[in-house]
Amino acid sequence: MSAHLGTEAASGRGRTAPAAPARTVRPRRRIDWGRYYTWLVLAWLFTPILFMVAFSFNDPAGKHNITWQGFTFRWYANAFAHPTLNEAMFNSVSIALLSMVIAGVLGSLLGLALGRFSFRGKQLTNLVMFSAISAPEVVLGAALLSTFLMMNVTTGYWTTVIAHVMFCVSFVAITVRARVITLDPALEEAARDLGAGPFTTFRLVTLPMLFPAIMAGGLLAFALSIDDYIITTFVSGDVTTFPLWVWGSTRVGIPPQVNVMGTLLFGVGVLMAVVNVVMARRRS
């Protein structure tokens, strides 16, 4: 930038005072800090993931999969060798899917209401929503546990689902609300004007317009649920999820199957993100 300006200024001077001797401007190499910074951030983000993926191919000597020994596909062939790990993984995925769907529906409706209508208690709802996001998970977990105990509910699978839905709803609602606010209200009026009733208008115009936000919110809910540890420890009773299983096995050594499953999960996540981008590109 500065070098560029320098040459321009020099040539400008040359034009106005042709008698002055022509100065040669040595082109200065520009250091593209932006580029280096971007790579730094990407490295920072992806190094742990790379280690996780790499160690899913490691062939460790003892119980601890922490030093590189050699390459093997053994753990992929025996990915499901630990029955309790399989069960924990199944619990995590099914809880995450349920949370995604339930929080997706509830959060979308909440986001729609908050973005579209003004009603008594709207500010309070906003406040509660943000406090659910900003409150420390330990506090939420402990509070939920005492709530369940007071209500004489046995903690387990469904209390975990309820807890996950609770903290995911706000994320979905905020994502959807942001989209609703930017939506031109004339779009729905146009649908009404062309003869569509309220339900048809929602189905053919509102919902398709909100769909990307609902998807984004749902995926966020899935991601938040599947790796939640703190709240889950409080409310899961004797049900074990993937993060709980991993934490429990640290004392005896984490088997490489954990890395395999982590890698597979990461692969599914990448795949969904790619599909989302492709679909969005085709839509526009």
Binding site: A186, A191, L194
Partner: protein, 393 residues
Amino acid sequence: MVTTSSSTEESAVAERDRTTDEVAAIGLARVVKSYRSGSETVRAVGGVDLEIARGEFFSLLGPSGCGKTTTMRMIAGFEEPTEGVVRLSGRDVTGVPANHRDVNMVFQSYALFPHMSVAANVAFGLERKRVPKAEVKSRVAAMLELVELGHRARHRPAQLSGGQQQRVALARALVNEPGALLLDEPLGALDLKLRQSMQVELKRIQREVGITFVYVTHDQGEALTMSDRVAVMNNGLVEQLGTPAEIYERPATRFVADFIGTSNLLTGTVAGSDTAGRHRIDLESGATALSTALPPGVATGSTVHLTVRPEKVRMGTEPPTAADAPDGPACSLRGTVTETVYMGASTHYQVALDGGVEISVFRQNSSDSTLVAERGAPVWVWWDPRHSYALPS
């Protein structure tokens, strides 16, 4: 053209007591719309009566906040009047939701569905009416031809230019063959050149399809050039209703005179009438002017604003002779040219009259001598009494 249930209803009405032509396409009777804003009530529309005839190009013209858009939204069914009745083809539709009204709207923002193709957008209304698929296809194709967008049917709205999107919005509304088409400042987002060509285009389409157009605009030029009739609105009320020529030539109120075009306003007192039915008005500056028309309810001695359009004012370096004004000038006022602006086809002068008032004078540059007077030159101005009107103050 319109072969929906409403036309059979009309003929039933026609057989009963009047001809189809007499049933207004749109009728508003004492329509009021007020909003509660905090503790006070705001009247957006304060009692509007309108009868819009079948096939008419009708404009609602006024500054922003005058109630024109609210009036249109009450016709469309997006707002319900606080008081009064809305009729479409003689049928009372007050309280009927928008999706059950035989009118369609072209939105200012176009409001095209971005997730649908151009063809799907245009087909939306017909599909809601459960028109057979083959007929939908042919009608959509025909309508896209009418707006010259047949080759764009498969595109998404975002891939089209502003002018093309505008025409899709028009096609999407017109394909339903509504009883009336409502247009809410449809050309507002287009640049000047495109706006002018779309004005011609809209007029052509309206002639071809013969549908009643209700056009909301704040652009007086647009309203005057396209409309059969114009309602000038201000503060939620219709100030004047008439043809563009009536509105321009005989503004009924000071607001209309100010809002439409440029007007010279001279304040004076009605002094009396002469035998030819002309009224003498003593101007504040001490001079006397004549006017042929007095507003109703204005008697001798009351204060009026005398208005005359700048292009009707004549100007010369000498007082007017009998040849200049065969019927005798309405007045001849002395002044000094303070500004001359050459506009190509015409020259605009600002003249400071003796007594302080400044008026505008437009002269066509039809002869070689474009400048009648230089800046600072003393001049005389006069006009034909038929071209000046007294408005109540």
